[in-house]
């Protein structure tokens, strides 16, 4: 069984290095500030006994007043997992750091989120629409985008 690591334990370890990074620790997830995302991710990836070398998925949820990005990290060596979340509270121009340098698997998923949710990923090498065509108005998965705006 993949062990879901307790987020408070991880939070304790992170506190030494990134004292201001952690917003909240829930039972199943760890919510961090967007500014520290890349640093914490690379810490989680490179620390020997954590070694989250596999990024299972990235997704984004629109909570109307903020966007929440969800990263599920897995270690294929130690067989444990962690859900990392970050909240993006700039509804006009949401920007988050890109994870492509750490995990290549983030490439298409970030493009997908950019396409459907309209979140810009800083440092992504090829950030453009992936599913919809160039010139499509709006981002369909946002809650303010009702289902039948387009025809």
């Amino acid at each position: 069984m993949t062990v879901a690591l307790s987020s408070s334990e991880i939070a304790d370890r992170l506190k030494n290095q990134f004292p201001e990074a952690i917003t909240e620790t829930k039972k199943e997830c760890l919510i961090i500030k967007g500014d520290f995302l890349l640093d914490i991710a690379s810490f989680l990836k490179n620390t020997p006994d954590l070694e989250f070398n596999y990024l299972s998925y990235i997704t984004c949820v629109d909570y109307k007043d903020y966007f929440e990005l969800v990263y599920q990290l897995v270690s294929t060596k130690h067989n444990h997992s962690l859900v990392l979340k970050t909240q993006c509270r700039q509804p006009e121009e949401p920007i988050v750091d890109s994870m492509v340098d750490l995990w290549k698997g983030a490439d298409f998923q970030e493009r997908e989120i950019y396409d459907l949710m309209g979140i810009t990923f800083k440092g992504h090498p090829n950030l453009k629409r992936i599913f919809l065509w160039d010139g499509f108005q709006g981002h369909p998965l946002r809650k303010d985008n009702s289902n039948d705006t387009e025809n």
Binding site: R129, L132, W133, D134, G135, P140
Partner: protein, 198 residues
């Protein structure tokens, strides 16, 4: 081996052009294109006389319907199922699936059509040489089906190209595909090539 840039050809301009084509097509195709062969149902009024030449031409056309590849989604597997040993569409001489639209007669539109795909389908249809027919296979091809209310789905192929035969089902079974093809043959049988002056 290290590739220098992420993508040698980012092709941003190409993307933009394609986006414009899609947009133009979307605006243009809000109405359903009527079936050009609708007059066939009122056959008696027109009093069609078929000549022997017509008979031979129609025989040859309905006996060798070559399909073009246009299989976007789920229904494709029921088409392949129809071509597989069990249903064996080859009995009717239809196992030749031409990948090049120039040499094909029949387009079986098996699957959901999105606006991004629409210009390609239209182009394939236009590349096909006359005479050509279209079968809309499955609910998505007829009306958008389950995805009718989506932001990216074309509600039916008949917004883009004229359709001759509709086969309902999600997906239609191979038997119903064969029945639909049989209907199309009936339609071809009534066609008059000689009289049709356009």
């Amino acid at each position: 081996m290290e590739v220098e840039s992420k993508y040698i050809y980012p092709n941003l301009e190409l993307d933009r052009d394609e986006g414009e084509v899609i947009k133009a097509l979307q605006e243009k195709s809000q109405k359903i294109i009527p079936d050009p062969d609708a007059w066939l149902s009122e056959e008696l009024n027109r009093n069609v006389l078929l000549t022997t030449v017509d008979g031979i031409l129609n025989w040859s056309r309905r006996s060798s319907l070559w399909t073009v590849i246009c299989f976007p989604a789920c229904c494709a597997f029921e088409f392949i199922g129809a071509a597989s040993p069990r249903f064996d569409i080859a009995r009717f001489g239809m196992e030749i699936i031409r990948a090049s639209p120039r040499q094909a007669d029949l387009m079986i539109t098996a699957g959901t059509l999105t606006w991004k795909m629409a210009p390609q389908v239209k182009r394939i249809y236009e590349q096909m040489a006359e005479p050509k027919w279209v079968i809309a296979m499955g609910a998505c091809a007829i009306s958008g089906g389950l995805f009718n209310d989506s932001y990216s789905v074309v509600p039916g192929y008949n917004h883009i190209i004229p359709v001759d035969v509709y086969i309902p089902g999600c997906p239609p079974r191979p038997e119903s595909l064969l029945y639909g093809i049989e209907k199309l043959r009936g339609k071809i049988r009534k066609r008059s090539t000689i009289k049709e002056d356009k």
